[in-house]
């Protein structure tokens, strides 16, 4: 089975986000970048499937040269190959643009892929758009936010998280699947893996190779504002006897906050 795993380089979840107001962008200086956490579940699932059924696992990232770091991590985890689709544009927040790049890359470079794995969303932009858009552009079925995946022959069964339960989805391959936390426990890279990953070549796919028309990659999104939320005011802190503080709190929720 040939599997593609799409990964994105994002600031880690402990990051404090600062805004560059003139350019309406995030200040990248001082941030620690990692593989988007959900992409790690996707990567792990691909490796498990390869171990069970054979085949290849290729990691792909769309982004600037810096994204090579997250691709090296994928190689260190066990990916056979990694590819950078070089896109120097700053974050557009436009999922369709990225989806078009990915769909075209798959068509031109990775024909014969059985499974396209993504994280359920990139931590940061939090769009949850690209995988389903890629599925539509390629005419493939999808299962998003998946916590269990079984592949047998040319068909897959996925459990996907919905409000208050799960949906079971049966898909014919090739298909797009997005990983939710709980799908698996991502492995750590081994020292041997890290050393081997350093020596591997990471081919670069240029946007020009993908034959886009002049308007196809224009962002549909115009950013009109970017801000951090107003700091919540520090509230009222109650100390003392538990029974007393509980009574006082309920009184405040009723008379002051007026929510009960």
């Amino acid at each position: 089975m040939n599997i593609l795993v799409f990964v994105k380089r994002v600031p880690d979840t402990e990051s404090r986000i600062r805004i560059q107001h003139e350019t309406k962008s995030i200040v990248e200086e001082g941030l620690n970048f990692v593989v988007s956490p959900y992409d790690e579940y996707a990567m792990e699932e691909a490796l498990k499937l390869r171990e069970a059924q054979g085949g290849t696992v290729r990691a792909v990232s769309v982004g600037k040269d810096e994204a090579v770091v997250v691709l090296r991590k994928c190689l260190a985890m066990g990916a056979d190959e990694a590819f950078l689709v070089k896109d120097d544009s700053p974050e557009t927040y436009d999922g369709l643009r990225t989806a078009r790049i990915i769909a075209r890359t798959v068509e031109r470079k990775f024909a014969g892929t059985d499974l396209l794995l993504f994280g359920k969303q990139a931590v940061g932009t939090d769009n949850s758009q690209v995988p389903a858009m890629v599925a539509e552009l390629l005419g493939l079925p999808q299962a998003t936010v998946v916590t269990k995946l079984e592949v047998e022959g040319a068909s897959a069964t996925a459990l996907r998280e919905i409000e208050g339960g799960m949906e079971k989805i049966v898909l014919s391959l090739p298909a797009v699947v997005t990983a939710q936390k709980g799908l698996n426990e991502p492995r750590y890279e081994t020292l041997k893996g890290i050393m081997a990953a350093k020596k591997k070549d990471i081919p670069v796919v240029k946007l020009e190779e993908l034959g886009f028309g002049p308007d196809e990659l224009v962002s549909q999104v115009d950013v009109t504002g970017l801000d951090v939320p107003a700091q919540r005011q520090c509230g009222r802190i109650l100390t003392g006897e538990p029974a007393e503080t509980a009574r006082e709190l309920v009184g405040l929720l009723r008379t002051e906050a007026k929510i009960i």
Binding site: T13, E14, S15, Y93, G95, L96, V123, G124, T125, D126, N127, S128, Q129, V130, A132, M133, A135, E136, P141, T144, R160, E161, I162, E163, G164, G165, M166, E167, K168, V170, S172, A175, Q180, G182, Q220, V221, D222, V223, T224, G225, L226, V228, P229, R232, C234, G235, R236, I237, L238, T239, P242, A243, T245, A246, L249, V250, L253, R254, A257, I259
Partner: protein, 325 residues
């Protein structure tokens, strides 16, 4: 026209779809355009009156046996046909599991950009401006979309539900054929959680626990507290989930869910930045923690410094009393 997709579950339109419809109505009135609702399924005609009640002037009805169960491909085909026919200026979905699965697919088919998980929509110079959290709420991005229709998903529990007014409207029936072989993936089963509790993203009250609970068994305390309220759910911090004390579907924060209930009660949660990101948009935040220096108190409207094992049962009793009055 602003159109809204009506998600149905268990033979009813979801509340979050009606919230999206209510918001569509408010913005449509401002823009001087009409509001429409779209129902897709096998036998869903009976649901049109509730869409009219929440502001739809027209209900587009796409009924077809092959659309009885949800499939992203089948529903995308149906909704693209609707857009072709009605040419709405904007098309809203609730940002539910189904809406998040479906809206990007529909947008891609239409070649349109998508504003995901919006928490605010305003009309500026005749166009819609969407505001949405990024970095799980550490920042907010406002944007406009160049493409028509403007496709957007609206976060549940954020936009107020309009008042239901029983009025009649126009039902527009559309025939959509789903050719054999179009749908290559479909839902074969819906498995409900045994407890049948509301999801943290849809609850009015969320009671969350962290490391301070000391073990999985003590989540019972929080379930008891949540049970006092009509639409409450139990949430958890990442460390509680990673310790295996509760399922990840309960996790609130940057690698879990972002919630905005009326009341968020954080019990034994210190308040790591990635947790705060997921719950800071709650209307009222209460924190119970024995450490007076815990960062959670910086975002809490009300805090109790004390032993949660003593405070929570008493809080439950007091709330019960207050709610019974």
């Amino acid at each position: 026209m602003i159109a809204v997709f009506m998600e149905t579950r268990d033979g009813k339109i979801k509340k979050s779809s009606l919230e999206a419809l209510s918001e569509a109505k408010r913005r449509a009135v401002e823009m001087g355009v009409e509001t429409a609702a779209v129902l897709v399924g096998d036998a869903v005609a009976d649901l049109a009156p509730s869409a009219f009640a929440f502001g739809a002037v027209k209900v587009y009805l796409i009924e077809n046996k092959t659309l009885a169960a949800y499939s992203s491909q089948g529903f995308t085909l149906a909704l693209a046909a609707f857009v072709g026919e009605a040419k709405p200026a904007a098309f809203f979905f609730a940002a539910t599991a189904m809406g998040r699965d479906l809206a990007p697919r529909v947008a891609a088919r239409l070649g349109a950009g998508l504003a995901s998980d919006c928490v605010k929509i305003v009309v500026k110079a005749g166009a819609l401006e969407f505001t949405r959290p990024i970095y799980a709420g550490k920042a907010f991005l406002s944007l406009t979309l160049r493409s028509r229709p403007n496709v957007a998903t609206l976060r549940p529990n954020v936009f107020p539900l309009g008042e239901a007014v029983p009025v009649a409207g126009q039902v527009v029936k559309m025939d959509v054929t789903v050719p054999d072989g179009t749908v290559k993936g479909r839902v074969t089963e819906v498995i409900k959680e045994e407890s049948a509790e509301v999801d943290v993203t849809e609850a009015d009250v969320v009671v969350s626990g962290g490391r301070g609970l000391k073990g999985p068994e003590n989540f019972a305390l929080l379930r008891d507290l949540a049970a006092v309220f009509p639409r409450a759910a139990v949430g958890a911090s990442r460390s509680a989930v990673d310790s295996g004390w509760i399922g990840h579907s309960h996790q609130v924060g940057q690698t879990g869910k972002t919630v905005s209930p009326n009341l968020y009660i954080a019990v034994g949660i210190s308040g790591a930045i990635q947790h705060l990101a997921g719950m800071s948009s709650s209307k009222v935040i209460v924190a119970v923690n024995k450490d007076a220096e815990a960062p959670i108190f910086k975002v809490a409207d009300y805090g109790i410094v004390g032993d949660l094992f003593e405070v929570v049962p008493r809080l439950k009793d007091e709330l019960k009393k207050a709610l019974a009055e």
